[in-house]
Amino acid sequence: MTADVLSTRALDGGPRRDAASTVFLAALWTCLAVASLFLIFILLTIIVNGAARLDLNLITGVPSTIRPETSGVLPAIMGTLLVIGMTAVIALPLGIAAAIYLEEYADRTRWYNRMIELNIQNLAAVPSIIFGILVLAFVVRSPLNLGAVALSGSIALALLILPVIIISTREALRAVPGEIRDGSLAVGATQLQTVWHQLLPAAVPGIATGSILAISRAIGEAAPLVLIGATSFVTFNPDGPLSRYTVMPVQIFNFATESREEFVALTYATILLLIIILLAMNGLAIFLRNRFQQRW
């Protein structure tokens, strides 16, 4: 009896519903395919044109206009490492500290705290070239007058990724349940001890993930660095924070303006190298998130 009522006839939505679902699904697949194809096309173009030059010369040699077929981008790799290293050293403590203040200490009913919060959200959306202009005006030239050196580049990139680090750190802190705070304070811990011994350790995976993603954004930035004088053709490795320098995206920008065929291959190979570095960093971020994520 019951089985009769629940037969396919009673539950069948009929051909119209089937057709609508199929069309909708097909539309979704099409959108996905367009996005993926575009990405795959770019990646394939880069691999096809650059794979041949992705050799040892590329990572050990220096740029050369005389022998582009064997020249490399070692100064740019070293420059990127130096600039990004200093960027992390500047941006991480500042960003994490700012996030702790906003999330754990700030009284949200105060207008200045709300204003800071709103402005950080806005800063995250500011075009990177603006940070370049800022650093050009205040750091490269007077009052700091550092000149077009690696440290200036790091300051620009640190300012650029600071809002992202603050926002992701706040989210990581917010994800720690209130019960953990209460539990810590209830045994007589101070707020500082609670932050240091409970909240930060619990939030580290989230902070690390957000920071790595922010730093990989900084690695790919060219615009602000071009503006503040990352030199486009450098044949020496940077020797310190106050050294002249170049970074990989600027190097790519420079290679791309050369018309000779050898340089085209060199450009693609450098892009490929940069993509590999970025993918590796994103992979690390995903690994950290999955490995250390605390499920409450």
């Binding site: 009284d107 705070r181 209460d182 209830a186 007589g188 811990a189 101070t190």
Partner: protein, 296 residues
């Protein structure tokens, strides 16, 4: 007579005045093991008003909490019993906009006085929360955390063992002290939280519905533990479970929410008396109605 009323009446008789206790001593009841309770108050609340911003949450509460006694705060949701509890160790200080008027004294000292350190207040007046909230650390570190952050000069191994023994958890966890506390069952986690509260050697333990997330067997273990703990501590417990209040407490305070002339709900104390009196012969008809299950 319903089975619920029977349960309550049996329990009441055993915890009633001396003459009744004699008669019912053979009744299987956990309260029967209790000796006389000291009348000396360890904490007192006088004319307490609690505000959240402009909103008056609780008004005119007067209570005294006996040393070595279990005092239960009962009442329907939103009656302010948890709010009052959280004033007793200044946990409400952490809520933005929360304000306390009136006095809360601990051994005669106003804990909201200008010279009073709220950290010291929380060390001496421990707290156990509704949901078990162990830290995402090892069992050992959960207990050792309080003594460490409050700078207790004692052998941590001894403190941990003693606290776990007092919380009747030692035998279950002594072989896995280094394992994460999240591997314990809910009931074990709650006893771990009690052990954590004991470890800083408080003399009052506040419990905010400590059994509401636990099954009946785990609940019964916690109740046994409470009756054991009052040899050394005073306990103030908020509970939604009236049978629990009847089973374990010496005194009971009944709160309710009143609607004021502006239509806002304000919690207030209705009646505070010996548990046996509250459950058997309440003075206020609202108490009687709540106990009999007519509202709440």
């Amino acid at each position: 007579m319903s089975s619920f009323e029977q349960t309550v009446s049996v329990t009441r008789s055993a915890s009633g005045p001396e003459e009744n206790r004699e008669v019912h001593v053979e009744v299987q009841d956990r309260r029967a093991v209790r000796a006389g309770v000291s009348a000396e108050p360890v904490m007192a609340v006088h004319n307490l008003h609690v505000y959240y911003g402009d909103f008056l949450a609780v008004r005119e509460v007067d209570l005294t909490f006996g040393a070595g006694a279990i005092t239960a705060l009962i009442g329907p949701s939103g009656c302010g019993k948890s709010t009052v509890l959280r004033c007793l160790n200044r946990m409400n200080d952490l809520v933005t906009g929360a304000r306390v008027e009136g006095s809360v004294t601990y051994h005669g000292v106003d804990i909201y006085g200008p010279q009073v350190d709220q950290i010291e207040v929380r060390r001496r007046i421990g707290m156990v929360f509704q949901k078990p909230n162990p830290f995402p650390k090892s069992i050992y570190d959960n207990i050792a955390y309080g003594p460490k952050v409050t700078g207790m000069k004692a052998n941590l191994d001894d403190v941990v063992e003693q606290a776990l023994r007092s919380a009747a958890l030692w035998d279950e966890v002594k072989d896995k002290l280094k394992q994460n506390a999240y591997g314990l069952s809910g009931g074990q986690q709650q006893r771990l939280c009690i052990a954590r509260a004991i470890a800083t050697r408080p003399d009052v333990i506040l419990m905010d519905e400590p059994c509401s997330a636990l099954d009946p067997i785990a609940t019964s273990k916690i109740e046994d533990l409470m009756l054991e703990l009052i040899k050394n501590f005073s306990i103030i417990i908020v509970t939604h479970n009236m049978q629990q209040a009847a089973r374990v407490s010496d005194k009971t305070a009944f709160f309710t929410a009143e609607v004021d002339d502006k239509g806002k709900r304000v919690g207030r104390l209705v009646e505070f008396d010996d548990t046996s009196k509250i459950f058997r012969n309440p003075a206020d008809e609202r108490t009687e109605g709540y106990i009999a299950g007519r509202f709440g």
